[in-house]
Amino acid sequence: MSFEIDCPNCGCRPVWEYHYGGTPRQRPDGSATERQWAEYLYNRPNVAGEQTEWWYHRSACKLWFLVRRDTRTNQVLTTKRFAPQEEASGG
């Protein structure tokens, strides 16, 4: 892993300044079934291709933001701050 990520605050920095936070998932509410909770807690999509991910700029500005990345090549396509109206609720 030696690719670079364009932090919305700090600009392009090597990946080891960041921390990976998984793909955004919809957190089930109280009415969800056990299966839905298990899906949320334990299953990950493992996409071979482009996906949106949380990344955290832990060595610098401490911003959590969203990255569009191709998992096959580690090419970073876009980065942006979280915008609630665009994304299904994160976390």
């Binding site: 030696s2 690719f3 509410d29 949320y40 401490k62």
Partner: protein, 937 residues
């Protein structure tokens, strides 16, 4: 030839060898008539110089104690001690050559077939094999001289390879206004033109312009061993590893000449044409006697001419082609012929040649067999970074069909062997790289490889012969010189079912030796294709991975001292001066013990003690929605936390797993001060920010004040009296009861005081602005002197908290621990609205406890190791997570995870200690002050 005053002497296998200054070790040995340099891996056959470019395994020796040095690229130095490897008793007379006669007992993969029955014999066989096969031995006494170091660099354009294409690419890019770093593995620029001077006009002018260009940095004698994603290059330069980040990369690595596979093709005296040229032109050596050149291209004719000029009698050119365009004046030329075998036992003394059909054969006497039969492109860096390549029959090599982003290739690696093409291809690549930087919105892929290839075909070059293997059924036709793999071995392996190129490689070990396929890749693929009845394109290639060339581990290990972070608290110097034994806690340095654990323990329990807890994570939260946030983050309640009060809390994830614990103090209506454990400070910081990032509508402002505050814990029955001397604040238990949080002034400094007691005594956790940390620390110790206060370290604190049964997250808990089972069921408020982990904890509660964290008293005065087993009916049931001698109990106490049915108060559990089983009694209550009277006093 050099004059006498320019010569030096070194030692080879015990005798002295003279070298011209500037000559390589191999060149000097060649000039001295030493032609057996090494013995082969498996059969111990004599091997001599072949490639002279640091690629093949033949010249690997131990130099000044360092094993596996390629002496063909190692400059000779006075007094150097060079020793041959893998031979007994000597490289000239190696008794182990007996294996050459036994080859039919050692077919490909023989160790898989013969040496595993009976099973216990394998370790014995392994020892024997390792002794008699293989490479040099590491001399443990001999460390490397100097230091292994690391360097980080960045550049706009990195050009790999200082040949004609690379030089042109570097110049074109630099002239276009970007910075260029040119990495070249040779000591001087020029690539193969250095040793093939007739090929083009002298390029000294080009080299001068590159060297003098202000925007070009040249890194010489440096090999790029890996091209990682993001165009991050790993470069070895001697004992230094350079990590170079490049916006654009141009691969102009050229190609390696490949050997022809014929019988006895590994005899000393059989050389690659480029190896001969290097010896002639760089090492100023000669080739006395007769030579035969086998070729399918113009280079064969050039080398024949150069040999002739150097005094060698070239008795024949064996040209694979029927109608070559080249002619050689005065040299007998056999067209449509190839070489069948080399004869001789320790050195070539003749060659057998025949038409391509294989018959009729004829012998030619000669001392040298020179091979010029084509090239393998040095394209592994392209593969590594994700370029797509496909075998192109018209070039007889793999060619790029799609470049990885921000990556280019130029020159012979693209199949452009004509110097004019290579030069213009370099310029094209240099410009393309510069353009991509100046207007990054343009497409970064470059389609012009095809154009370059078209140039070549327009010139009407004849199609290459694709001649890899000479026609004969002989057994000793070596494909892989590193591992002694023959053509027959490869065919046998395919017949046994290893027909895929990747499995073939792993089973036969072809291309897995020190050359990493540089000599054998092309031929092994060609043989695999032929034997499978496939085309070369269908056969494919094995995956290219870093490192591209063998790398000393020291280069990777290097020193990284200046990158490791050490954190010290504001009181660090005081601790050191007080003689504290310091220990690591993450990046922090923390006092473990000052005097002794019993003394420090006694001070805290009887009088007063002071511990530095500055390493705690500290977070300040402000805003209208902080209460809502805390209610969501923590399983316990915070809406009812009153102003000026502090509460213990644990943090769980949504699976209900306990992540961390700490305290939450309310310092204002919408202002809270939180602490986390030392080890989880960063993780909890990130955890909070993650949940907040997705909830921008919440009015929660978070500041990490971990480094802003020093912190210390004053604990013990006399601590109130100590603190009273330093503050006007009312410290009485009415004004400041247990779990009070207040802001007041101590020793003239505004501080936050939390009345909490991790160690189970009356105690004050005092958070002080960092710059006053030492001042307050010293003031408290001074004020406590009359009470015989003592500083205490982590070790005493461990015992003190264990007596109170306080768990340490990450030590007493792991990734399967929830608070219900970790003896904290009271903290989970399932009647609360949604909080993180609620669903999972509700289900866990429904299910009931499976395991429980319990406290125990051991029946014997021994202290078991951590993680000692708890046995149930003789089987593994649980484990100890903390334990130690408790002065309060007068025996060993601890915490352990046990099955829930053994967790009842007073039950007996069995703990395994040094092979014995010792009973222990489960205890619900804390071991010290169970009512908490001292804590609340």
């Amino acid at each position: 030839m050099a004059e006498d005053h320019g010569s030096i002497e070194f030692e080879f296998d015990g005798h002295r060898v003279r070298a011209e200054s500037g000559q390589t070790v191999a060149g000097a040995l060649h000039a001295a008539g030493e032609h057996i340099i090494s013995r082969s891996f498996k059969y111990h056959r004599p091997r001599g110089l072949l490639c002279m470019s640091g690629r093949c395994p033949n010249c690997i020796c131990t130099v000044d104690g360092t094993p596996n040095v390629r002496i063909c690229t190692q400059a000779a130095k006075p007094g150097m001690v060079v020793k041959s490897q893998n031979a007994w008793p000597s490289v000239k007379f190696d008794l182990l050559r007996i294996f050459d006669k036994l080859h039919r007992f050692m077919p490909v993969g023989f160790y898989y077939k013969r040496m595993y029955k009976p099973r216990w014999m394998w370790p014995v066989w392994e020892k024997i094999i390792r002794r008699i096969a293989g490479l040099g031995t590491i001399n443990r006494e001999h460390g490397a001289e100097g230091v292994y170091d690391k360097q980080n660099l960045f550049t706009d354009v990195a050009v790999i390879g200082g040949g004609l294409a690379g030089l042109n690419a570097a110049l074109a890019a630099a002239d276009a206004g970007v910075t260029v770093t040119l990495i070249d593995e040779q000591p001087a620029l020029g690539g193969h033109l250095r040793h093939d001077p007739e090929l083009v006009e002298p390029i000294s002018d080009l080299i001068r312009r590159v060297s003098e260009h202000p925007a070009i940095t040249v890194i010489s004698s440096a090999g790029v061993f890996g091209c990682y994603e993001g165009n991050y290059l790993g470069i070895q330069q001697g004992q230094r590893m350079i990590r170079l980040r490049a916006a654009q990369v141009i691969v102009a690595t050229g190609c390696w000449e490949r050997p022809l596979i014929f019988e006895n093709n590994d005899l000393p005296g059989v050389m690659l044409a480029s190896g001969v040229q290097r010896l002639l032109h760089l090492d100023h050596c000669q080739f006395p006697g007769e030579a035969v050149v086998v070729t399918d291209n113009a280079q064969g004719y050039r080398v024949a001419k150069q040999l002739k000029a150097a005094g060698t009698r070239v008795s024949a050119i064996i040209d694979v082609r029927d109608n070559p365009s080249e002619t050689a004046d005065g040299i007998r030329t056999f067209r449509g012929h190839t070489i069948i075998s080399a004869s001789g036992s320790r050195h070539v003394n003749g060659a057998v040649i025949a038409p391509l059909a294989g018959h009729p054969r004829q012998s030619i006497s000669c001392r040298w067999i020179v091979q010029a039969v084509g090239f393998t492109p040095a394209n592994s860096l392209l593969y590594q970074n994700g370029c797509k390549l496909r075998y192109d029959e018209s070039l007889d090599q793999a060619a790029v069909i799609q470049h990885a982003p921000a990556m280019h290739s130029a020159g012979t690696v693209n199949g452009l062997h004509d110097p004019r093409d290579a030069a213009s291809d370099g310029q094209r690549a240099g410009l393309a790289a510069a353009e991509a930087l100046c207007s990054p919105c343009l497409s970064v892929s470059n389609p012009s490889v095809e154009t370059a290839l078209e140039t070549q075909s327009h010139r009407g070059e004849t199609a290459p012969m694709c001649h890899y293997v000479s026609p004969s059924d002989a057994k000793k036709k070596f494909v892989c010189l590193c591992e002694d793999v023959t053509e027959k071995d490869i065919c046998d392996a395919i017949d046994e079912g290893y027909s895929n190129i990747e499995t073939l490689k792993r089973y036969s070990t072809v291309s897995m030796g020190p050359c990493q396929g540089k000599m054998c890749q092309s031929a092994s693929i060609a043989i695999c294709a032929r034997h499978n009845g496939q085309s070369i394109a269908e056969t494919g290639v094995t995956t290219a991975r870093p490192p591209e060339q063998p790398l000393p581990l020291g280069v990777l290990a290097g020193r990284t001292l200046h990158f490791s972070l050490i954190r010290r608290t504001p009181m660090h110097a005081w601790h050191e001066q007080a003689g504290a034994k310091m220990g690591d806690a993450g990046n922090w340095k923390r006092p473990q013990v000052y005097s002794s654990v019993p003394q420090e323990y006694e001070a805290v329990r009887q009088r007063a003690g002071l511990i530095d807890v500055s390493t705690l994570g500290k977070i300040e939260l402000r805003g209208a929605d902080v209460v809502q946030f805390l209610e969501f983050i923590y399983p316990n309640r915070f809406a009812n936390l009153k102003l000026g009060r502090v509460r213990y809390g644990v943090i769980c994830d949504d699976a209900g797993i306990l992540l961390d614990d700490g305290t939450i103090a309310r310092l204002g209506d919408d202002r809270f001060f939180l602490t986390t454990t030392t080890g989880n400070a960063d993780a909890i910081d990130s955890w909070f920010r993650w949940w907040l990032a997705a909830r921008p509508e919440w009015d929660v402002r978070m500041t990490n004040v971990s480094a802003s505050y020093a912190a210390m814990n004053l604990a013990g029955p006399r601590s109130r009296e100590v603190l009273k001397k330093l503050t006007d604040a009312d410290l009485s238990s009415d004004a400041m009861p247990y779990l009070a949080a207040s802001e007041c002034t101590i020793a003239g400094v505004s501080v936050i005081v939390l009345r909490i007691g991790f160690v189970g005594e009356l105690g004050y956790e005092i958070h002080v602005p960092s710059q006053f940390g030492l001042h307050v620390w010293e003031a408290i110790l001074e004020a406590g002197r009359e009470f015989s206060i003592a500083p205490f370290g982590l070790e005493a604190q461990r015992v003190l908290r264990l007596e109170k049964k306080h768990l340490l997250p990450g030590i007493d808990t792991d990734a399967l621990s929830n608070p219900l089972e970790a003896d904290l069921p009271w903290i989970v408020k399932l009647d609360k609205a949604d909080f993180i982990g609620k669903e999972s904890l509700a289900r866990a509660q429904q299910r009931g406890d499976r395991n429980k964290l319990i406290g125990f008293r051991l029946s014997e005065p021994v202290v078991p190791d951590l993680a000692s087993l708890v046995l149930c009916d003789g089987k593994l049931g649980g484990r100890i997570t903390s334990c130690g001698y408790s002065p309060a109990v007068g025996g060993t106490i601890g915490l352990a995870w046990v099955p829930a049915n053994l967790a009842g108060n007073g039950q007996t559990i069995q703990i395994q200690v040094n092979g014995r089983t010792i009973p222990a009694v489960v205890q619900d209550e804390p071991f010290y002050d169970p009512s908490g009277a001292k804590l609340k006093s």
